[in-house]
């Protein structure tokens, strides 16, 4: 069940009505009833995609609940470490099997093929359970935090199961930490008018980003990256622009809808995107893009590897490993791994030249504005180059696209794409400008009443009139 479907609209309306009704039962009883409803709804939501994988999420829940309880009850460091290993192996095992088995098998066969050996052909028809990349990371973060004694293990399997399966963020994030979400589950929530209003705006604006911006731009993206004929140089450039905003609209739109839905029920999920296309460097991009994943990787991979401690080479090694795995997380293909490698090069290079960059401080406001704009545009284009690696399904096609970029560029159809691209992206940039100016991502909520109402109504009509047919899946839906 996709967020941008009328089916989900009907589902959430029913769940929300029940949730509000149960809230009238009183603080404690109401909370228990609401949690029960949310757990049932979450499993229904997940099962609507494929009921067979309910067992998988239940198994992951049971394993990590049990392991964390035993870790919490033990003071033996070796036992605690063994138990943590069980959790990691189990979760990564699920992830590797469902997401990467085919990729590993094919890569192994290709490797053996290089030396002239032929492995028996194995046809892997493994269905990727929706959201597995998200909820396995979420449950692992819980056991890590219990192991590190940052929190006590949950005493309620029920509440923990809801933490794992909470439907607003189950299938495409944000990857919530137990430290943030479990306390909200375990205490009564207050649904307020402000929460409902601001949550509804998040849902509306997130849906706009998805069905108006992302789904319309995807028409161009398909023409450039999925076409049987090679695009021209300018077409690739415009295609990259479109993909940059398409993936932003898709993913941040989904995150906003998830946050909005959760807020309408009194939950606060973490911010996942912070105007990433206004990043001034590759490092800045990773502080703004998919924040829940980047912070997860920082806390549970980068820092345990050593983080920024040690020699420069060690730091670079840590960065490379982290970003390679970040690439692999995005998909079971060499394109994604190479994309992670490319991003790592960008980040490491930026880190190396940072001391020199920090010396550039223009004296005037115009100069500072120009310098900021130049960095934003440059960073945006660096990531556009990375999309040429990321988007195609094969690296061979990426290489062909790079070859086209190396030849003289032809205009092709790109001129016809510029106008719709601008019409779709400019409103987003205008909104970004307001957000930066007011230093408030939800600045619309504080606008004067008439302007606010006009914005809400205009967004609604944009969705109704310009939204692509409901039902286009989110880019990250099956991750």
């Amino acid at each position: 069940m996709l967020f941008n479907s009328l089916e989900f609209f009907a589902f959430f309306a029913a769940v929300w009505a029940g949730y509000l009704g149960l809230g009238l039962l009183g603080r404690s009883a109401g909370m228990r009833g609401q949690n029960a409803l949310l757990l049932l709804a979450s499993y229904l939501f997940y099962g609507a995609w494929d009921w067979r994988f309910l067992g998988l999420i239940a198994a992951s829940t049971l394993i990590d609940f049990s392991v964390a309880r035993r870790i919490g009850a033990s003071d033996d460091p070796k036992l605690r470490k063994r138990l943590l290993t069980v959790s990691v192996v189990a979760n990564l095992g699920f992830l590797c099997f469902f997401k990467y088995m085919g990729f590993f098998a094919d890569s192994l066969a290709d490797l053996f093929g290089l030396v002239g050996l032929e492995l028996p052909a194995m046809a892997w028809e493994i269905v990727l359970p929706v959201g597995i990349s998200f909820y396995t990371f979420q449950t692992m973060s819980y056991t890590f935090d219990v192991y590190r004694r940052r929190m006590e293990p949950s005493s309620s399997l029920f509440n923990f199961a809801l933490y794992v399966a909470f439907f607003p963020q189950l299938v495409a994030g944000p990857i919530e930490r137990a430290l943030r979400l479990l306390p909200q589950i375990e205490r009564p929530r207050k649904v307020t008018w402000e929460g409902v209003g601001s949550g509804a705006w998040l849902v509306l604006s997130g849906t706009f980003k998805k069905v108006v911006v992302a789904d319309n731009l995807s028409l161009v993206v398909v023409e450039v990256f999925n076409s049987e004929t090679l695009p021209t140089g300018w077409e690739i450039l415009v295609g990259c622009y479109c993909f940059a905003w398409k993936i932003y609209g898709d993913f941040s739109g989904y995150s906003d809808v998830a946050r909005g839905i959760a807020r309408m029920m009194g939950f606060e999920l973490m911010l996942n995107f912070n105007l990433p296309h206004l990043s001034t460097s590759p490092a800045d991009f990773w502080r703004r893009w998919h924040i829940s994943l980047s912070t997860w990787l920082r806390d549970y991979l980068f820092i345990p590897l050593g983080g920024t401690r040690g020699t420069s080479l060690q730091v670079y090694r840590n960065l490379f490993v982290t970003l390679l795995l970040a690439g692999l997380w995005h998909g079971a293909s060499w394109n994604k791994v190479l994309w992670g490698f490319f991003i790592a090069i960008l980040v490491v290079t930026h880190r190396a030249v940072l001391p020199k960059l920090e010396k550039v401080v223009p004296a005037t406001l115009v100069g500072r504005s120009f310098w900021w704009t130049a960095r934003v545009v440059f960073t945006f284009h660096l990531f556009c180059v990375s999309w040429v690696i990321f988007v195609p399904t094969t690296f061979g096609y990426s290489l062909e696209l790079f070859a086209v970029l190396g030849d003289p560029w032809e205009v092709g159809r790109s001129l016809g794409w510029i106008v719709p691209y601008c019409v779709l992206v400019i409103p987003v940039l205008i909104m970004h400008a307001f957000q930066v100016r007011s230093d408030d991502l939800e600045c619309v909520l504080r606008w004067p009443l008439p302007l606010r109402a006009l914005t809400y109504a205009a967004t609604f009509f944009a969705i109704v009139l310009l939204g692509e047919d409901f039902g286009q899946p989110f880019f990250y839906f099956q991750f």
């Binding site: 719709p420 009509f461 310009l466």
Partner: protein, 423 residues
Amino acid sequence: MVTEHDKPTAAASRPEFLDAQIVDEGRPVGGDGPLWRRLPWGGALALALVLVVEGLVLAPAAPFGPWDEFLVRLGDSHPLERGLTLDRLVLDRAAVDGAPGASRRPRVTLVGTSRTDAAFQPELLADEFQPPIDFYEMAHARVFPHELRSMLPEVLSTRPDLLVSVLSELEFFMPLKVVPKARGPSWSALIDFADRVGWRFLLSSRERRELLLRSAAVCLSPTYRYRSVLDKTVFGVWRRFPMGQDGSLVTRVVTWPPLIADGQPLALSPERLTELRTRLDEFYVGKARNVAVQYDQIRSLRNGEHAAIKMAMLEEVFAQVRAAGAEVLVLYGLIQPLAEPLYDRAAGQQVFDAWIERVAADPGIHYLPFEAVGEFGPNDFRDLTHVNKQGALKYTVAIMDKAARLLTPAWHEALEERIKRDG
């Protein structure tokens, strides 16, 4: 209104790589101040704005400005969108004709599929033979009997004295489809349709659930209903990216499966099917594609439960039209005689005749069999199911004659006298 929870910021100043601050742990959101200040006034005002705009979409727009413009921009190639736009113009005209102070003439509203649209062409008849009646044509492609149920509020808003439709078993026995850009925001029609088809059936597959929910979206938002018109006329300039190699626009067609097509197929297997098909193609040289489509349509006919559903929904339309004080006229819609061997017409017509005989027991519902309309031959049809100008003249005369008899009997008598006198 400032909320209690931390204001997410867009600040760019951050420490090292991957060192983003995790947002504070969630805490209950609440606000200070009196309740009336905390209510979502912005949302309420936005909702009011939305309702006003949606109401304007449905309201008559004298003097026909925007919908006329849309019709011109649509051209000839978008039957569904043209139908929606022409309906708006008809409703606008009906509103103007019915304005206070305007002289009130009898009104006839025509509904049905493109066969009704093709059959009624008043411009073929000289003015002196046209009765003083206002005719409003709301018949368009794909407006099958069950869809009339959705259009009913709009049809009744023209305040007809007589409702006319050209029908046969063809309209009932074709597979039942609910086009998502359905006509008319009518909750009662949607519920009626779902009741008759069966809720379990409609909820049993993703496609059917989507159809049901899309139809509900049309009921909720008239603007959504007209998005295809607006897309092709207002937004089409920039929204449809030119994607073809030759720069041509690509229209993405969303095809939805037929909901029901059960029962016995009516298509027979004539011994010389190939020869018959060749003969049809030769007869319609230059329109082979249309013939092929209609050939398949005729051979898709089935006498199943879907036909009974369509008949029942059309009866509901007739009942409500009668309750509004209007009468109904049904004319039998012939198909190209050369194509009749393609299906068991006798069996089909038998079912239709039984139905119309029962329905026409109401003295306010009139039926004209094809024999009463005129004699038709192969040269009266432009394709397998639609009459050409020659055939349309016969239907138009029959419709106007009957309408005049019922609504302007004095004028009709005077015309008959004049015709007798002039020979």
